[in-house]
Symmetry: C2
Subunit: 337 residues, 2 copies
């Protein structure tokens, strides 16, 4: 399948197809949609640059980070870079915003840099076979896996914690301390991603304790950003402030939530306990220190690279690795009398 | 000058020179020193790989980050990556620890990746002509400039804030609030780097206010890490706890220092005011929020790339840009009665 074939199939000009593939703005939405539908269903990997064609196979591994500036990823990127370097490869980094499509970014990088393989740091949890076909190279999902998708296990690799079990464990810390009214701050309950899985863990913990899930105590920020987490917590507090504990799905959001609780006049942990998941450095120095489930950042990064390099060098096929979190007990949980 | 010439000059074998250049461990310290002395004085840029020689000129710009995991750089790296991408180049990232030599790392990257140019994010302030000769490509210092070195202005480019003036301004905030006993937490007073410049700004502000510099109130952490900043602040407090204000040279260190003050029983700002420089996101959400001079992260990154690309494309020569900081007033400064 060439770019000409696609143009014919879509009934558009070759230059229109080229503009779509190169993300030019001057294409109608209808044409863009038509071209992308054919590109995706045909598993076409665009590769129409004469310059690209004469280059030898590269030693380059791509790293696409979804969530530029996410402090949790700050601890993993240098680990991945060092491991790629030590394995004798070159890393090309591309950071995208949380809302952007990492598969599209990865496919463009794979083409323009002639990547050997790809690591996705953060991404969607619901890939289908057609969606990943655009990549055309081995890839590893780092910090997540394809929990909601239809992709076969053999079609990709992953290194992650068990998000649902970790959330379950975090909320059990609050239950064990005697809390019954436990709110949750998350991105979304149905993002088919990290947030939804952690929400399911929260739900299961409440269910096991015989506590009905109170929808008013569930606050969706629709973002992982600190300013939004701060505003969302204030919104939750304006609606209901009778909860005695709060589970937050990430450390950086939890720091912002603690500030909102403080500004609302609720002391942590005296009036409200807080627990989170991630274990970034900063959360050990906020006041009070945050109780959190620490993700093994080094092991996540090193294993993602090891799996990819094993595949590239023919030593193994796809693998899926589940790593454990560990509790870093802070000062943010109060035991109820 | 070839690798053979160097071997002859040093009286060692070609393979010894090769081992030194490739950082192999099995070389005697004496031979390593001899070879590096000749390499440096001869401005030899190693390039002895047959594979490298057949590759066309690359479109690659290197980014060497000194201080992997530094939260201040987390806000700049995506900006640099995006600007390099938009200018049509490829970024190769290499992160090193604060103690490592960014010029050596940059020279190795320049050779192995056939870089067109280099951006150094964080580094030493005291380069000499001989030291940078190893690079052999245009480079831009981002977030610092060569304040203590002998390098000519035309030999490199830089984008930075005025560290001395910013520190001076930060300490003046404390003086204006009526403080006279002002401690300082820094990396080192004589690191020929960011820390020394900010110390000079602190000294000048005290001097102008007629306050003699009390060496017991100067705490050197010899690190920018949060755990070390925390321990250093406790050490300062064990020695002297009669100061009413503390200037810290970076935001992340200041967050750790505020935690140490808290654990020592000093409330911020009631018992001790704190001011810092950097303006990372997190310091707007700690309790109390940190008063800090914000560095323009986006402008630092974008201008570093713009200057380098202008040089690579023949539009201009070396440039030096000094950017302004702005005060983000937090809750960490108390006005004395």
């Amino acid at each position: 399948m060439t770019i000409k074939d696609i143009a014919e199939l879509c009934g558009v000009s070759v230059s229109t197809v080229s503009r779509v593939l190169n993300n030019h703005p001057d294409v109608s939405a209808a044409n863009r949609e038509r071209v992308m539908a054919v590109v995706q269903s045909s598993h076409y990997v665009p590769n129409n640059s004469a310059r690209d064609l004469v280059k030898p196979q590269s030693d380059t591994i791509g790293l696409v980070v979804r969530g530029a500036g996410n402090p949790f990823f700050t601890g993993i990127i240098p680990v991945i870079e060092q491991a790629i370097h030590q394995a004798g490869y070159t890393m090309v980094l591309h950071q995208i915003r949380p809302g952007e499509d990492e598969l599209r970014a990865g496919a463009e990088l794979a083409r323009s840099k002639r990547l050997r393989g790809l690591i996705l740091l953060g991404g969607r949890f619901d890939y289908t076979k057609d969606q990943v076909a655009l990549l055309g190279i081995p890839f590893v999902c780092c910090t997540y896996t394809n929990s909601f998708g239809t992709l076969k296990d053999t079609a990709y690799s992953s290194v992650t914690i068990d998000d649902r079990a970790s959330a379950h464990w975090a909320v059990k810390q609050l239950l064990a301390a005697g809390h019954r009214k436990i709110a949750v701050l998350l991105d979304s309950v149905c993002d088919h991603s990290i947030s939804q899985l952690r929400y399911l863990g929260y739900q299961r913990a409440l269910e096991e304790a015989g506590i009905p899930c109170d929808r008013e105590l569930v606050e969706e920020a629709h973002s992982f950003d600190m300013p939004v987490a701060y505003e969302s917590t204030l919104r939750l507090l304006a609606r209901r402030d009778d909860f005695t504990a709060l589970f937050v799905i990430s450390d950086s959001m939890a720091v912002a939530a603690m500030k909102a609780l403080h500004d609302h006049g609720k002391r942590v942990p005296e009036d409200c306990s807080v627990v989170a998941i991630d274990g970034i450095d900063m959360s050990a120095y906020v006041i009070p220190t945050l109780s959190t489930l620490v993700q093994p950042q080094r092991a996540l990064g090193e294993n993602a690279v090891a799996i990819l390099v094993d595949i590239l060098e023919g030593r193994s096929g796809s693998r899926h690795l589940l790593l454990k979190t560990s509790l870093r007990q802070g000062e943010s949980i109060r035991v109820m009398k």
